[in-house]
């Protein structure tokens, strides 16, 4: 039987899900191993196989979401890179293009960001292309040899090459690749004309630089991972999740490492979209809360918004997505906002005695106090245990037994006693405090974009999401919530639901007269070939769906609209200008007149995956007793009166149509769903739990 494996690495847990063709799922949570990320994946896979009885040979496809690139870029721990650019432009990265936005515009003390590379790692190449790709100054191999020696002298792990107008003519970058690979065959070489052959040198340079910083790490990591999977007997194709909601073959991932920067978040949004699909929610907030971070995204009419760039270190009220802030990386990315807080966030008192939660996280090592792994500081998870939401004996897929006394003691020592309140009260404040931070991520993607969160349904997942969802929703007056089945590992499920996808574009300079099949056919063929390489497609397997786009604009404009091409046949090409004018009118509300020009050709490839339906539950009998696991004291507010004897249910024993009034706690294997008083839960056909206000 065919089985799909999904593996998602988070800051605290690594999640592995096996999906069988009959729709049944098996999930495993394993503490992450940041020093050797593949270890937790391999351990979790081995466990999942053993527990589920699935044979390694049954795994037909393995999809992986990794934070390797993210950590390398954010923490500036990527490979040591030499950066080569055209003579005269060695200061390109140092001059930068930093915007001052919003509040910063009034800040007399604003600081320029540090240049992404020290000067001694930057080299100028004696060469020059024109914008049309003509050689203005030839690159002489003899002069380059000395340069190669100088580059070798700093012992780089990777070399990033970004020459002016290389998108128009890559010959000089190609020659450098050749000469450098002879000189230093073991070093990773990355050329801008391969990574992002589009106009605008700064954006191309930073994209190339980050690719070079991450590629060697990604390559080594995936080699180790593939070897480990093979040792477990899994020889299925390994695919890597990207930031746009697609996957690529592992073989392509090193060269496209920057495309994975937001892969975890993208997988979560894909999961939310999938679980929301059976409902008629037109607007959905995806809310993913794990151990160390939480992410929020918005899905309207089934599609998340995808941007063509992200900003590393970006700032501003749009969740760090203000153009010009941070360093641009040109890669398709699902629009989401992230806050550095989650179940592992540590609660502490600041010098003024105010309770704060995060940004420090206990992570997986030492972990929250209740893990009993050496952590002594109180975390959100400790608070949730004290509040009665978590079952100490069943946590995170039975990865751990929780130590309630340790949680109690940590909160007492570090929060309750200094504040002069009881431990329950302190635990509630920690829980509520992190809810406020969760709300700020949702605020960014809704309120700050002028969207009303009350018109949205909240899809809550991640290990901690369904425990905090109602508290977060209440802050906005959101009335409908959904906790998907296996919500604690939803991202690992979401990545199984994604198509193989790749996009490649190239800047061109075409007029209406150039729009003929003979001109466009070879051009698109080349771009499609590059897209196939990006996707890691070989000639085997099902052929991809090819979508071709032409970026069109009025002569003299800079920003273009991407116009889809039905085909490259003459009749379809004749329609392009009219399509552009209609799109222009729709976008800008003015009539499009005058000559049209074309600035880029793009190819979007997609190989749809088979989506197994989820297994369905047996229908309700009207009796929820079989699912009841007893009662526990749980606290839902600041006052002692907010404590209730609360029904505890086992999620696995619920049936379609079961209704549970709050207060209730529903224990899943990998997450806990909390239904406070005044709310009710209903179970749907596939086991999603719909939470709404009691009527």
């Amino acid at each position: 039987m065919s089985v799909v494996l999904g593996a998602d690495i988070g800051g605290t847990f690594t999640d592995v899900v096996l999906s069988r063709a009959d729709g049944s799922l098996h999930a495993v949570k394993q503490l992450s191993s940041p020093e050797a990320p593949e270890r937790s994946v391999l351990d979790a896979v081995a466990r999942a196989l053993a527990e589920s009885g699935v044979a390694a040979s049954e795994v037909q496809r393995a999809v992986h979401g990794t934070t390797l690139a993210t950590n390398a870029v954010i923490e500036r721990k990527g490979a040591r890179v030499a950066f080569l650019t055209t003579a005269g432009f060695g200061d390109l990265l140092r001059i930068g293009r930093e915007a001052r936005v919003e509040d910063e515009r009034y800040d007399l003390h604003f600081r320029a960001p540090l240049p992404p590379l020290p000067r001694r790692q930057i080299f100028e190449v004696p060469e020059r292309m024109s914008a049309r790709g003509e050689v203005l100054r030839a690159l002489e191999p003899d002069r380059v040899r000395g340069l190669c020696d100088a580059v070798a002298a700093i012992e780089p792990e990777a070399v990033a090459i970004c020459l002016l107008h290389a998108y128009a003519n890559p010959a000089h970058e190609d020659l450098l690749l050749e000469l450098l690979s002879q000189r230093m065959p073991e070093v990773t070489l990355v050329a801008s004309s391969r990574v992002h052959p589009e106009i605008r040198e700064f954006d191309r340079a930073t994209t190339t630089l980050f690719t070079a910083e991450v590629a060697p790490l990604m390559s080594r990591y995936l080699t180790r991972l593939a070897r480990g999977l093979a040792e477990l007997g899994i020889h299925a194709p390994l695919q890597i999740m990207d930031s746009s909601g697609g996957v690529m073959a592992a073989a392509a991932a090193a060269a496209r490492a920057v495309a994975t920067l937001e892969s975890g978040g993208a997988a979560g949004v894909m999961a939310a979209a999938r679980f929301a699909r059976p409902y008629d929610f037109r607007r959905v907030i995806s809310f993913d809360m794990g151990g160390t971070t939480a992410k929020a995204g918005v899905i309207h009419d089934g599609s998340p918004r995808i941007a063509r760039e992200l900003h590393v270190g970006g700032r501003g009220s749009f969740g760090g997505r203000r153009a010009g802030t941070g360093l641009p990386v040109k890669t398709a990315t699902i629009d989401l906002a992230e806050v550095g807080a989650g179940g592992g966030s540590i609660a502490w008192l600041d010098p003024e005695g105010i309770l704060r939660v995060g940004p420090q996280s206990a992570g997986s090592d030492p972990g929250p106090a209740c893990y009993g792994l050496g952590g002594e500081l109180p975390t959100v998870t400790d608070a949730n245990l004290v509040l009665g939401y978590l079952d100490p004996l069943r946590f995170a897929g039975d990865t751990l037994k929780l130590d309630a006394a340790a949680a109690h003691a940590a909160i007492e020592e570090h929060v309750a006693r200094p504040l002069g309140v009881d431990v329950q009260r302190a635990a509630w404040s920690i829980h509520d405090g992190v809810n406020a931070q969760m709300a700020s991520a949702i605020h960014v993607v809704t309120v700050q974009r002028g969207l009303d969160p009350r018109e949205h349904a909240l899809i809550a997942f991640g290990g901690a999401g369904p425990m905090h969802a109602v508290g977060v929703a209440t802050r906005f007056g959101i009335a409908s919530l959904l906790a998907p089945p296996m919500a604690g590992v939803a991202s690992a499920i979401g990545m199984q639901d994604t198509d193989l996808r790749a996009e490649h574009g190239r800047s061109v300079n075409l007029t209406e007269a150039d729009l003929d099949t003979a001109t466009l056919q070879p051009l698109f063929a080349e771009i499609e070939a590059a897209a196939r390489e990006k996707m890691g497609l070989d000639s085997k397997g099902s052929p991809p769906k090819v979508e071709r786009l032409l970026d069109a604009r009025h002569e003299g404009q800079s920003h273009a609209l991407s116009i889809p091409l039905t085909s490259l046949a003459a009749a379809d090409l004749e329609r392009v200008v009219a399509d552009f004018r209609a799109a222009y009118r729709a976008a800008y509300g003015v009539i499009s007149e005058g000559a049209v020009e074309f600035s880029a050709c793009r190819v979007l490839l997609r190989v749809p995956v088979e989506r197994p339906a989820f297994a369905t539950l047996a229908p309700a009998t009207g009796d929820v007793e079989p699912a009841r696991r007893g009662k526990r004291q749980a606290r839902f507010g600041p006052e002692p009166a907010d404590a209730f004897e609360t029904d505890i249910f086992s999620r696995g024993d619920l049936r379609e149509g079961d209704r549970l009034p709050g207060p209730a706690v529903i224990d899943g294997t990998v997450e806990t769903v909390v239904v406070p008083p005044g709310w009710q839960a209903r179970v749907d056909e596939i086991g999603s739990i719909l939470i709404s206000r009691s009527t």
Partner: protein, 581 residues
């Protein structure tokens, strides 16, 4: 106390107003045609009400135009009473004596109707491609009156009831050296105003006209209250500041001064009000460095806002607690028909003066002077296909108490460097090759806190080219303070193909260069703050390693010696050198 729900409504609505302005500015940039706008610069867009109060302003980057929409709308309403306006009307004007800026900065207004009455206006503003005048692209440095700066437009209809007014379009077209581009830019401005108008209509329908109006009133009152609370925290007193301008490019013997007297509260007690009195500023100039009152107001309000909570949104409430006085006939608020295109010169001097005055009250915010914007125009008008680039670059920001000045970026309201076009798209559309772009070592004024570095750009011209430059801080370099050195003054010249140097005056237009010449623009470095010998030797050493300071300058200005391979500080030699000073 408002309920949680109504607080949320209020917040969503306020963001929606800002997003509407923001969206309009993005639409303008995306659909504009002139190279400067599309490749970098941002557009200003705002929502105003029928009383011409500013409700919300786009928050992208640049604040150079912050006050102009607000100051100009009353002129539109004066000439076209509200009752005469029709749905689908769009107005345009550029009169710098009625709130405008200069000929090329077109201001567009679109009324938004509720129940057949004008309730709101949306406004957009960018520097459009050429609109006549002595210099291609506008801002003619040689202009001695507004008529030499380009076509003057009183408030007139550009679109009437949804139909373009072709007569006005024909006037614009005939007065432009680049007619297609200028009309493209005008269309972009209209598109932006349309998008914001549609958003306002949606909000009005969603919340109801009355509730929307009440919410906007509360928004403006809330901002005013926050502004007053903040101003009440300033140190009460009377402070003065001044800044000297190089010259106006015509009367080179006259270096006019902008002066300000800042009175916080009544001078003894803070009360939430501030008076900025620029009355002692020198008389208006013959050359085009004067600033119309809306631009002068932008500079004044901007500098004051640097001393209050930066998160206060920009709307009418910001203006109410502040009294700003200009003397009619001075550099700030000149008599017609004074030339105003190069108004950034006067406005940035006003900013420096206010910062100096307030740094007496708040020494922790002391700063040295900064470079300003260095605009230049390259134009080839002889061929069949005339081309034009109006661009600019930035120099070093002055050092501030506690931090070095950033390099090659906009100071004050000019925003960050992201608004300067990248090289490749410029070369793709214009007959130029940018040969190099380098930070200028040693251009930042030495000090405990170092000034930011200037930038040198070399552009090879592939066509016979008319050059215009409007450089400032090239005679008097940005001033250092408290023992810090001045930055390095800016410069502009050309190199012939043979390599000989051809000087170019600092403020000039229609300067002819030949195909093959290289145009060189060096922006000034920011001033330093504090005694350079108090800068820790390792910070000086790091500057040397990064190439921001030369080893010679490290020894001469900072008293820091480097080891033999110049990779690190020679601590002992530096200690002795500094001790012997």
């Amino acid at each position: 106390m408002e309920s949680a729900d109504s607080r949320l409504d209020t917040e969503i609505l306020r963001h929606a107003l800002r997003v509407a302005a923001e969206e309009a500015s993005i639409v303008v940039v995306k659909s504009a045609h002139s190279a400067m706008i599309v490749e970098g610069s941002d557009a200003c867009a705002g929502i105003l009400d029928r009383d011409a109060r500013l409700v919300a302003l786009s928050t992208a980057t640049n604040l150079m135009h912050a006050s102009s929409l607000r100051c100009t709308l009353p002129a539109v309403i004066e000439d076209h009473p509200l009752a005469s306006m029709q749905p689908g009307d769009v107005f345009v004007t550029n009169d710098c004596f009625r709130g405008g800026i200069h000929a090329n900065d077109l201001l567009i207004f679109r009324p938004v109707f509720e129940d057949a009455e004008v309730a709101w206006f949306t406004g957009t503003l960018i520097h459009v491609a050429d609109l006549g005048g002595a210099s291609a692209g506008g801002i003619a440095p040689s202009a001695t009156d507004v008529f030499a700066e380009g076509l003057q437009l009183p408030p007139v209809r550009l679109v009437a009831g949804g139909e373009p007014v072709r007569d006005v379009e024909r006037i614009l077209t005939l007065n432009s050296r680049t007619p297609a581009r200028v009309m493209g830019d005008v269309q972009a401005l209209v598109a932006g105003a349309n998008v914001a108008a549609a958003r306002m209509q949606e909000l009005s329908e969603r919340y109801g006209p009355e509730a929307l109006r009440a919410a906007v009133d509360r928004y403006i009152e809330g901002v005013e209250r926050r502004m007053r609370d903040e101003l009440a925290r300033l140190e009460p007193g009377v402070y003065t500041g001044e800044y000297r301008i190089d010259d106006d490019g015509l009367e080179l013997e006259r270096s006019p001064v902008v002066r300000v007297k800042v009175t916080v509260g009544d001078g003894r007690k803070a009360d939430g009000s501030v008076h900025l009195d620029f009355g002692e500023t020198d008389d208006q100039a013959l050359g085009a460095i004067n600033a119309g009152f809306s631009q002068a107001l932008t500079g004044a309000i901007y500098s004051l806002r640097c001393f209050v909570d930066p998160s206060i949104p920009m709307n009418e409430g910001c203006y109410r607690p502040v009294r700003v006085s200009f003397r009619k006939g001075s550099l700030l608020d000149p008599h017609p028909p004074a030339a105003c295109g190069g108004r950034v010169v006067a406005v940035t001097a006003a900013c420096e003066a206010v910062l100096e005055a307030l740094s007496h009250a708040h020494p922790q915010h002391a700063s040295a002077a900064s470079s300003v914007i260095h605009p230049y125009t390259l134009a080839g008008l002889a061929g069949a296909d005339p081309w034009l680039l109006l661009s600019y670059d930035y120099g070093g920001v002055g050092a501030r108490m506690g931090s070095d000045g950033p390099s090659a970026t906009g100071a004050f309201f000019l925003g960050g460097r992201n608004v300067v076009p990248q090289v490749e798209p410029l070369e793709a559309r214009l007959p130029i090759v940018v040969e190099s772009q380098r930070l200028l070592a040693d251009s930042g004024g030495a000090g405990r806190w170092r000034g930011g570095l200037g930038l040198e750009t070399r552009i090879r011209l592939l066509d016979d080219t008319q050059v215009a430059v409007r450089n400032e801080r090239v005679r008097f370099a940005p001033r250092g303070r408290q023992g810090g050195s001045d930055g390095l003054a800016g410069d502009q010249y050309a190199l012939s193909e043979a390599g000989s140097r051809k000087p170019i005056p600092a403020k000039t237009d229609n300067h002819r260069l030949s195909r093959g010449d290289v145009f060189v623009l060096a922006t000034s470095g920011g001033g330093g703050l504090g005694d350079p010998t108090e800068r820790p030797a390792e910070e000086v050493g790091a500057d040397v390693v990064e190439g921001y300071v030369s080893p010679e300058c490290a020894e001469r200005d900072y008293g820091v010696a480097l080891n033999s391979d110049r990779s690190d500080v020679d601590a002992e030699a530096s200690r002795q050198r500094r001790a012997s000073r």
